[in-house]
Amino acid sequence: MRGARILSATLVALAALAPLAPAVAGEPAWLPKPARGKGEQCVADTAWMRRNHMTALSHQRDATVHEGVRTARFSLKGCIDCHAVAGVGGEPVSFASERHFCRTCHDYAAVRIDCFECHASRPPAATTGGADGPSAAALAHYLRSVER
């Protein structure tokens, strides 16, 4: 009963937020609306990417780490650079923010990813790199909170 109440409250909240995001024709308003990347189009068809991005990334990672193949098309670095979402002050948000491109859908689909325990989750601009300061603590806190 309590669960149903929370669910209905969430739905009401989502409905309230819905007008903020431009609805795509034919898609229900409650679907996640990931931010648009830079440029005209993604490296592959959007529908294909939604279904297969994980396979492409996984294949690319093995080719890069073990064989030194460094093509740009399916590199995670390319995704991160293109799909950076500006946060407060214009700096790109990290995976600790729910506005992060990957989290927009992964939160909705409840699929936990651990890419960003090792990989940078935002472009390197204006960051020192390798820091383990407060932002790293925030990311670690988030990653812990979604552990199984």
Partner: protein
């Protein structure tokens, strides 16, 4: 001579090996001659590209064997240009905690009986028969076909067996969460890491950060190149001069050669 290359170099070390007097005198004479010869040709005129850059879609080739040649005579005591460059390039740092990662470090080796000492950088030796690769239970620790020893952090379970196996203490475990890593050097809590020979740079035909920094701002003690290519600068020098590989007696066939140690 006492050798503290990795802090625990014992009687098995090549430095401690006894040679009969006559042979030693002969070798010393030969070494002196080589040094004299070397004085005129020690130009270290080495361009910024260790080899032509591969195309991005091209795989690393087993025809190559990347190696380093480090001249301890040109490595100033107290100079840490290579360490600083590695930290900036790969996003690790020394914050004073005992658990900090360490991809490269400077060592000073001293003979306590006469005070003679020299300095050298110690890093992953990119062994041909790497003990870290042998012991890894998941296959995460591996040697690329061109001789660069790496950790595939996607498969690393953080057991640290490789750290125990490495005779050079070259590997580190990441104890703390990390964020804003360098895009070309992913690193995260719970995995082991070590010098990658700046594999992202080598793949692009560039020198590792340590080599570049040493050549640009320090003594120019480091040289990278393809040991398999007889025309490469490093192969010529390794063939011409007396070089040492640290703990060569262990048979790990390191890819890092030292001079004047």
């Amino acid at each position: 001579m006492s050798c503290a290359a990795d802090g625990r170099c014992g009687s098995g070390c090549t430095h401690a090996r006894t040679v009969d007097g006559a042979r030693r005198a002969l070798l010393q004479g030969a070494a002196a001659m080589l040094t004299t010869l070397a004085a005129g040709v020690m130009l270290y005129a080495f361009g910024a590209a260790p080899a032509a850059a591969r195309r991005p879609e091209e795989k690393a080739s087993a025809q190559q064997r990347w190696g380093l040649l480090i001249d301890a005579a040109r490595c100033a005591d107290g100079c840490t240009a290579c360490v600083a460059a590695c930290q900036v390039e790969n996003g690790w740092r020394d914050s004073g905690r005992p658990t900090d990662a360490q991809w490269i470090r400077k060592l000073t080796v001293k003979n306590p009986s006469n005070g003679a000492s020299f300095s050298l950088p110690m890093l992953c030796q990119h062994c041909a028969d790497a003990p870290c690769v042998d012991v890894c239970p998941t296959g995460a620790s591996f040697k690329r076909v061109d001789g660069i020893v790496l950790v595939d952090k996607h498969t690393c379970i953080g057991c640290r067996y490789c750290m125990m196996a490495c005779p050079y203490k070259a590997r580190s475990f990441i104890h703390e969460p990390v964020e804003d890593q360098k895009p070309h050097a992913p690193r995260g809590k719970g995995t082991v890491e070590s010098c990658t020979l700046c594999v992202h740079r080598v793949d692009a035909g560039r020198e590792p950060a340590c080599v570049e920094a040493c050549n640009d701002t320090a003594g120019g003690a480091m040289l990278i190149g393809d040991l398999n290519d007889p025309h490469s600068e490093i192969a010529k020098r390794v063939a011409a001069y007396r070089t040492t590989r640290v703990r060569a007696d262990l048979g790990t066939e390191p890819g890092v050669y030292y001079r004047n140690i």
